[in-house]
Amino acid sequence: MKAWEGFEGFQWKDGINVREFIQQNYTPYEGDDSFLEGYTERTKSLWDKAETAITEEIREGKVAIDTTRFSGIANYPPGYLDRDEELIHGFQTDQPLKRIVNPYGGYRMVQDALKAYDHEMDPELEKSFTTFRKTHNDGVFDAYTKGMKKARSVGLLSGLPDAYGRGRIIGDYRRMTLYGSQLLKGEKLKEKDDIEGGSVEETIKLREEIKEQIRAIEEMEKMAASYGYDITQPADTAQEAVQFFYFAYLAAVKENNGAAMSLGRNTAFLDIYIERDLQRGVINETQAQELIDDLVIKLRMVRHLRTPEYNELFAGDPNWITEAIGGMGVDGRTLVTKTAYRFLHTLTNLGSAPEPNMTVLWSEDLPENFKNYCSKMSLETGAIQYENDDLMRRIYGDDYGIACCVSAMEIGKEMQFFGARANLGKTLLYAINGGRDEMITGENGEPIKMIEGIESLEGEILDFGQVMKNFTKVNQSLAKLYVETMNTIHYMHDQYAYEASQMALHDSLVHRYMAFGVAGLSIVADSLSAIKFADVRPVRNELGIAVDFEVTGEYPTYGNDDDRVDNLAVQVLEDFSKELKKTKAYRNSEHTLSVLTITSNVVYGKKTGTTPDGRKKGEPFAPGANPMHGRDQRGALASLNSVAKLPYDKVCKDGISNTFSITPKALGKKAEEQILNLSSILDGYFAQGAFHLNVNAVQRKVLEDAMIHPEKYPLLTLRVSGYAVHFNRLTQEQKEEVLARTFHESA
């Protein structure tokens, strides 16, 4: 086949095997960034148009929406920013930034969003849809129990994907480039007929799904054809490689409005095509960079229709178009290629931006040049997050990607059922308040009972043993409810909002994770530490609810590398993970757990009463696995060491998020010193088995100034918790919370 000319290897030709193709053909790169080229006039002109549209949308607070049709891969006429200037084509609708109405997750969400932006759906369409079609949201609420609804409404379980698209599925978009749609369809047809036996439900469901996947591939062909491209055959050039890959991704974001629509791990793959064209003399480095710049421009313009409330939970309109960059191969060669550099270099050519969500897979064995380049880009742009490749490679091999912020999965072979998080701050208060909610009273004026069988605590001072006993009981009961709630949600999502285009780019038999989460880890650890090592006297109101706590004596706090309290945090996670695993998960999925809050730590805090660690009612939690701001007193590395103790493998296998804010000067006087020190910090942190780090190198006073003069900082990008955001797009409350975080200033 002409498209495969010059490529080595056989196995990947006999069946779908992108990893094998990469291993046989990629060129590791250990050099520095001196080969990179800047933007061309054409790129600049195109990006200027894009940026104008992007900033105008933010400034005006208005969004364009196509209200004449509902979502679908081939439902929209082609759209262009500038057809001739664009090297990579395709938008979600007929106009850049115009949003799709996707009703399948839930219609109420659609109505709220339309109303918020002053739009109306075509009345005929709306009527037909709501009359004849059931949504994911309808299905979930039909099947929810009273207990599930209650847990949801008090904020014990929050952010559940029961009214919107679950996301966190990564299609292997590379397959379209390497194989073309015809081969992919052929494989699926074969696989469908092989599926027999097993349980009736599982078998029939799978066969139906595969048929839907095939249909989705056919729609991708139609969509690509509308832009004048034939994707039925494999890509032949670097331009086609990027273009076909992008079409496959574009299909995913046309079909789905998932919370996180991540990209996978593509730089080494695309590099093979770029390298071949460079060798052939068809393109030069400037043109290679242009292709990647154009791809990134497209990714920066992906939009979804969401409600303002959603934005309060996940600030800044994120899509988590996460691209995993770098890492090592299991054979010891680095997976860093020149295209890894080219991808990061878009932050220079196009300026810093939150999307795509650049995620460097850090290994101690990465080439020094690449480590230092990443550190440099972190310091210059604040747009990069780091995850531990040495930790993940042992579990997932060397062709995994990251969905959303931190969730690892083998590309094309694994998927995830995403499941928000449980509020452990609240469960601790339930342990203290006899299973009753501290914020919400029922119609009879009594606090509502959330968990049965929790004894009231006697005595003036909280007894650690008693509190732990109750806390364990509350968590046991919550864990069961949580798994059953998730089972309900994902059963219905598969039923009413199945992601056919993304699953078409997976093996037919996939391994599934069910990803649970917790919020409030640091306040729980500190509260338990206070109860254990000091005297904590609850101040109860007339209803017997502890509304405040008086603490006498000293106690260690999480974030100071003190085992006495850090072990409490570890224990809480191990116990909760164990409890979750006791209840069977839908489609035999594997239970995993994350310590990740995104920006929802603000909202969780709002819904939680005063906790024994001194955090007052309504105040934000620390984000993710971060120590509570101001309590890490031993400097930045002690704080990192505490977080590094949280167990990833077997416990928090869905990720542990840590956000690290430091003023650049604290890292050294000169730029070179800052770069080397940051690389050393990353090496030291990950060598201990730590999982994730967001790096923000910014001065607090810059953020303070940006709060008053947002117009001065249009590009100021900040890592929040597993993703980056333009600072200006945070709500006032979120900005304040970011400012309250510990900034490691100087030693």
Binding site: G635, A636, L637, G668, K669, S680, I681, G684, A747
Partner: protein
């Protein structure tokens, strides 16, 4: 043998090469008018820690030392006041393969700060004893960060309450250091911000210039004022403005030039 530790910082990036865990020892015999950590001056207070405690903490940061060439920095206060503690600690750190930086002005050297007579340093016999002590200790030190407060005896006395003898004694011991030496000097407006003082400083350190890797002129800042308030003390330099950063940098370059430090050594 326990030490008294005022506090420690796990991400020290300015006190010696690489990433360092900096232990600030409690107590200082000098009372520098510009002191920005007056809370470390008094001999009481701080946490009591054994050498084992210190090592256990330092070991936790070995992953960060490895690549950066970092280690532990003993600072203060004035660490030499706790000589006996350091004599226990340093060999143990060496055994663990942890690099040692000592940040000192050279004052102290008694058995432990609790039995230090503030005037003890002026007699001949104590000087001899202290020199032996100091020499032994310095043989363990990988990097010496020497803080020189002023360049003339009379001005030094005014600024710190002590004459220059102990600083001179420490300078003489420099050849015993295995690694490199950083010379640091806090420049306060109206004290040493003049060519004459800088030339005098150069003359003090010139005999050891082959060992000197870095000279830092640290501009006086006002961040200590708040600490004086917290301690209920009057900031002795309340009226003194902060040192102009560019001017301090210019003097730093001036010294570097006199010391004929080439670019390589400066960035090393």
């Amino acid at each position: 043998m326990n030490g008294r530790i005022h506090s420690y910082e796990t991400m020290g990036l300015h006190d010696g090469p690489g990433i360092r865990t900096v232990f600030f020892l409690q107590g200082c015999p000098l009372k520098c008018l510009y002191c920005h950590n007056p809370d470390t001056q008094k001999f009481e207070g701080g946490m009591e820690m054994s050498a084992e405690d210190v090592i256990a903490i330092a070991k936790r940061y070995k992953p960060f030392y490895r690549r950066s060439g970092g280690g532990i920095t003993i600072s203060g206060g004035e660490p030499l006041l706790q000589m006996e503690f350091l004599k226990v600690l340093f060999p143990m750190l060496k055994k663990e393969g942890i690099s040692i930086a000592l940040d000192t002005s050279g004052y102290g050297g008694g058995k432990n700060f609790l039995d230090v007579e503030v005037n003890e340093v002026s007699t001949d016999s104590t000087t001899e004893r202290l020199t032996t002590n100091l020499g032994d200790l310095l043989s363990y030190v990988d990097h010496l960060l020497m803080d020189i407060k002023h360049v003339t005896d009379s001005e030094h006395l005014k600024l710190t309450g002590k004459n220059l003898d102990p600083a001179r004694r420490l300078l003489q011991e420099i050849p015993k250091i295995q690694g490199m030496v950083w010379i640091r000097h806090v420049m306060v407006p109206g004290y040493t911000d003049n060519n004459e003082s800088m030339k005098a400083l150069y003359q003090m350190i010139a005999p050891y210039q082959h060992k000197i890797e870095k000279v830092e002129i640290l501009p006086y800042h006002k961040m200590g004022t708040l600490k004086y308030q917290e301690l209920g003390r009057k900031d002795p330099l309340l009226e003194t403005p902060p040192m102009n950063i560019d001017k301090a940098r210019a003097y730093e370059l001036f010294l570097e030039k006199l010391l004929e430090m080439n670019e390589e050594r400066r960035t090393g």
